[in-house]
Subunit: 203 residues, 2 copies
């Protein structure tokens, strides 16, 4: 059990995003998330697949294959976190590093996979993961059509930030497909409950 | 008038994409493009804006501003090309370099702007442009919700390649908003008529 205190970083861009996006934002957890502690993600979304982040050439070589949720979650202890999108600034780049930098602690907790998912295509996500030098620690999956997040009720329209349909910022601990812990930020620009240090205390 | 012969490059990924995506592809120009030589783009899409490629921090600083089409096209000689998406491989990376490497010839033809547009958010597009070291020569604009391409009838569903709603691969020479030349590839994986060398011969 990790006891690291979540360091809340000051970040002007994040605060500005919050200021820009709080217009119309619903209160914490007042939106209709369809997932909660106890939900079996695989059963809730039997027809949904994610797309493993990879280069375009690897995508072509794989014949644009996708990965069913059961292959990701069944018989495994998984920590998964979602964020509004690749290349959305220093602050969302802090989200990935928080998991990357704590990967040893997740291994100590017998977590099989730490996964980052975003409503991006797998090629963009791959380029971003490489830029963050995070691919060795974290598995990245695209949800290019948002179907995964929509099924879980975690989709969010971020057109005001020129992003379009994306997702909330969230994290979950999932064992054999069943959600044990779920953290959703009140605002996608917040970074209070979805970081690695927080969920490490919950495992 | 440039006389460079278009070099058709051999590219396994492009060919593979073609093989994968030709299923269901309509014959050349049989789709309902709403733009043609003579079309006034600004008049055809009076409410459409594009999003100048920039970093997330610059996006926040600009309060997520967008650029009306009239500011891009009115009283200007513009060469614009569209492609299916950032990070879609060596081959689409050849599309941008073809314009980057010929930027001097466009200047010789009194072209005010050479523009790359794609159905991507402006932050992803910015990162890709920086990776290609093309920002000094080419202006990059996102069409994050696809509204520009939809208005012109140049949208294309590329879900089979895990991309979702994107665009055809195309190029145009536009003077004061009016389309003088329009080239659309039969297949987004083709690179026969949308490169810089081809349109330089048409200006």
């Amino acid at each position: 059990m990790a006891s690291t205190i979540l360091k809340r970083t000051s970040c002007s861009a994040m605060k500005s995003m919050a200021g820009s996006l709080r217009i119309g934002v619903t209160p914490f957890r007042a939106f209709a998330a369809k997932v909660e502690a106890g939900t079996d993600i695989v059963a809730a979304a039997p027809d949904v697949s994610l797309q493993k982040a990879r280069s375009w050439d690897d995508g072509v070589a794989s014949k644009f294959s996708t990965t069913p949720l059961k292959d990701i979650f069944r018989d495994r202890r998984v920590v998964i976190f979602g964020l509004p999108g690749a290349y959305t600034g220093v602050c969302s780049q802090q989200h990935v590093p928080s998991y990357k930098n704590n990967i040893g602690k997740f291994r100590d907790e017998k977590v099989d996979s730490v996964i980052c998912v975003a409503v991006n295509d797998p090629y963009v996500l791959n380029a971003w993961a490489e830029k963050l030098e995070a691919k060795d620690a974290i598995e990245f999956y695209g949800d290019f059509d948002g179907s995964f997040h929509k099924t879980l009720g975690l989709e969010k329209d971020l057109s005001a930030a020129l992003l379009g349909p994306r997702s909330h910022r969230w994290s979950a601990f999932v064992v054999d497909g069943k959600v044990k812990v779920l953290n959703i930020e009140e605002n996608p620009s917040d970074f209070k409950v979805s970081g690695a240090e927080h969920i490490l205390k919950q495992i």
